[in-house]
């Protein structure tokens, strides 16, 4: 328990410094000015969302390969956390877009992909709520999760085909170079967001494990009560 308290406090501290770095250390952007600073929050949440989605995929495949319920706990934990980060993307994106593009939303493929992924992870979590049987739920949601992940490259491909309004990627191999200080702040923020993501997944995993153990205990108690009731019935012990 103490371990988590320390991790929580450390992450909070690092997050606080990330906010400070994004607001005061990173230089002012020439055309967009202050609103550009949301980028440190927006893009780094994007990285965390992608990483969490990758964890979901790995956990889905690993579950089908090993049938160890721990992978299922990890999958659902990472799916919920990735949904949270995708939501951050969807909220901070329009806040940036409105002053810069003049519209809250544009149906280009990057935005659409984020929205689609958001919907897909909602569908994944809804699917899980509608199947009662624990093992079936794990298997079927793993299959669906793998299908979801396989669709992502196709969506990405479509972005490349479809010329968009969205700023071209500037960090990896884009045409315009990012200022070195901006880059440092961006990498720092991405690192902190990843840390936050990992922390959240761990906490959620713990919860899922507790839920599973509670379910097991409840079943054991039910079974125990049933056998006791059986043994008190007249004629018990003969079978």
């Amino acid at each position: 328990m103490k371990r988590y308290t320390i991790a929580n406090m450390l992450t909070a501290l690092l997050l606080f410094f990330a906010g400070y770095a994004a607001l005061f250390i990173a230089p002012d952007e020439a055309t967009m000015h202050a609103i550009q600073r949301i980028f440190y929050f927006h893009a780094s949440s994007g990285w965390a969302a992608i990483e969490a989605s990758l964890i979901v995929f790995v956990a889905n495949v690993a579950y089908l390969a090993t049938r160890n319920p721990q992978w299922d706990w990890l999958a659902v934990s990472a799916a919920e956390v990735s949904l949270a980060f995708w939501s951050v993307m969807l909220v901070t994106g329009p806040i940036w877009a409105h002053p810069v593009w003049g519209v809250w939303w544009a149906w280009d493929w990057r935005l659409t992909l984020t929205l689609v992924l958001w919907i897909l992870y909602v569908a994944y979590l809804i699917l899980r709520t509608l199947i009662t049987d624990t093992e079936r739920r794990a298997v079927f949601s793993a299959i669906f999760g793998i299908f979801v992940f396989l669709g992502v490259p196709l969506d990405y491909l479509s972005i490349r085909i479809w010329r968009t309004q969205h700023p071209q990627p500037v960090v990896f191999g884009g045409p315009n170079r990012l200022d070195p200080t901006m880059l440092k702040v961006f990498f720092y923020c991405s690192g902190v967001m990843t840390l936050l993501m990992i922390l959240l997944v761990c906490q959620r995993y713990k919860l899922e494990r507790l839920r599973y153990q509670t379910e097991e205990l409840r079943l054991a108690v039910d079974e125990h009560l049933e056998t006791r009731a059986d043994s008190r019935r007249p004629g018990a012990g003969k079978s």
Partner: protein, 224 residues
């Protein structure tokens, strides 16, 4: 028994079961036609607009029809627990899934055979000059829909509210396919009809990726 033969037997079984009642086909066809008709009341498109929005209309009608039609594919097996008989048959899970996928491809294909002339007449969009290339686009798009849809139909069997769940799972996963199919169809309905190779490649990639995935995952899908 090899997979192709087993799959063809499952296909024959699905077709025979359907032909006894024809309820799935008639319901799907009427539903698809209704979508095409009410579109007119909602948008009242001119001939030019019908060419512009027609591809989207056709594919939306097909996607919605499929998301309703594919649900009984596995749900029907539960009424008399015939899924156990299928599992016991000396056929691989892939053969069973393939047979069902092909049956759904056939049913959705028949729906298209009726839907397209109705669309062409009601909206005055001539389809005959591009019918060969259109058939190719329709085949690739429909194949993608039924490959994913048949797998998801099996996912729904154990779930509550499965009639609602299938469209919820299916439609977002099919978005790249919808995009590619609509763009490819739009290319054929343009003034100078041309088959867009890029979008055809996306369609083929979609079909190959998800067909392979359903082949790899079918054992998990049909297990006890």
């Amino acid at each position: 028994m090899n997979a192709a033969r087993a799959a063809s037997i499952v296909l024959g079984r699905e077709v025979r079961a359907e032909m006894r009642t024809r309820e799935l086909l008639q319901t799907t066809i009427v539903f698809a036609v209704i979508v095409v008709v009410i579109f007119n009341f909602a948008f009242e498109p001119s001939v030019g607009e019908a060419r512009r929005f027609g591809p989207g209309l056709i594919w939306i009608a097909l996607l919605f029809s499929a998301s309703l039609m594919l649900n009984p594919s596995f749900a029907r097996e539960q009424a008399n627990d015939t899924i156990y008989a299928l599992r016991m048959a000396p056929a691989s899970s892939f053969a069973i899934l393939l047979g069902k996928t092909l049956a759904n491809l056939l049913f959705l294909g028949i729906t298209e055979l009726i839907l397209l002339p109705v669309f062409s007449i009601l909206y005055n969009v001539p389809l005959l000059p591009v019918i060969g290339r259109l058939a190719l686009v329709l085949f690739l798009g429909t194949f993608g829909i039924v490959v994913v849809g048949t797998v998801f139909s099996a996912l729904g069997t154990q779930a509550r509210l499965r009639e609602l769940l299938l469209p919820l799972l299916l439609l977002p996963v099919l978005i790249p396919l919808l995009f590619a199919s609509v763009e490819a169809t739009a290319g054929l309905l343009a003034d100078a009809p041309a088959l867009d190779r890029t979008w055809m490649a996306v369609l083929v990639a979609f079909d190959v990726i998800f067909f392979t995935a359903s082949w790899l995952l079918c054992d998990y899908l049909l297990e006890e």
